[in-house]
């Protein structure tokens, strides 16, 4: 059972994700992690600001349970099921990142340079995290879904709009990593 403490391989994770999608399908729901953000806005009163938030959020409460589950999963995974959390990425990737200034590459789960508590005191890294979030939130709602809704659920159902969205995701991601990172970092 030692393997459970190691990072899990893709052929375990991928099927597990598919399993979650089917469990949700079998209880009459869908697998999507970004519409919660819209629910949060509405819970905070955003329905007074725009029609988009004028929807029956209480009917979507089950999705908040999925969020809690994801949080609990992270908690259990990090505190009970892991011995060493350094992510063993490709050594070439590590050198690319070190050139950009990410010295924590290869020895951490998240880059300290952006995510440590000290980093939060830097306006630049705080701003970048906020900007990253803004892009994710705005983009996911505009595209009507994120990786779970489009790349996993939508493509599994052979939906063309999801393919367009996923191509968009990749264009964005590649542009950010290859063109913008060298400028930002």
């Amino acid at each position: 059972m030692e393997w459970i403490f190691e990072p899990w391989p893709w052929y375990v994770a991928g099927p597990l994700i598919a399993l979650i999608m089917f469990l949700l399908i079998f209880i009459g729901k869908q697998f999507g992690m970004s519409s919660n953000l819209r629910t949060f806005c509405t819970m905070c009163g955003a329905d007074k600001a725009a029609d988009f938030f004028n929807f029956d959020w209480k009917a979507q409460r089950w999705n908040l349970a999925v969020v809690l589950g994801a949080g609990l999963g992270g908690f259990l995974g990090a505190h009970y099921l892991s011995n060493d959390i350094a992510v063993a990425i490709n050594p070439d990737t590590i050198s690319n990142l070190k050139e950009l200034g990410f010295n924590s590459a290869g020895s951490a789960y998240l880059p300290d340079e952006l995510f440590s508590l000290e980093a939060l005191t830097s306006v630049k890294s705080l701003g970048l995290l906020l900007l990253g979030g803004l892009l994710i939130g705005f983009g996911a709602r505009y595209a009507g879904g994120c990786t779970s809704g489009h790349a996993i659920s939508g493509l599994s159902n052979l939906q063309l709009p999801s393919l367009i969205a996923v191509i968009g995701f990749f264009i964005g991601g590649l542009f950010m990593v290859h063109v913008l990172f060298p400028l930002i970092f």
Partner: protein, 121 residues
């Protein structure tokens, strides 16, 4: 997500550098099983646990919203190294700073709600 490292910023960067199969393996294997499973459900009219027929709502047709929205999302995905699901996973794992990303994402969603009537769909 945590144990497979799909929640790690480093893995997302690596994915966009095409320097490992890992993330493609996760998404790809989920997809293969997903496609097969959904086809099975459709062809055999499998019912949900509650005995109801399972309906798959097709996504609305369109191009701009998916393409442009997708690109914007992709930019954020690479910058923050995370998409909405892993954000909650990372909070559970104790990485408090990801809350900043969550706040950003909620704000971004709000901004979309305000602007959507002016955007091409």
């Amino acid at each position: 997500m945590y144990k497979s490292e799909a929640a790690s910023w480093f893995r997302i960067y690596e994915m966009f550098q095409f320097q490992a199969f890992h993330m493609y393996g996760i998404i790809g294997s989920a997809l293969v099983i997903g496609v097969i499973g959904i086809q099975l459900i459709k062809r055999n009219n499998i019912k949900s646990f509650y005995g109801e027929p399972i309906k798959f709502v097709p996504k609305e047709k369109g191009f701009t919203r998916y393409f442009v929205g997708g690109i914007i999302f992709g930019l954020g995905w690479a910058l923050a190294g995370s998409c909405p699901g892993p954000i909650y996973t990372l909070i559970g794992a104790g990485y408090v700073s990801i809350i900043v990303v969550l706040i950003g994402a909620t704000l971004g969603t709000f901004l979309y709600g305000l602007l959507r009537n002016k955007l091409p769909h």
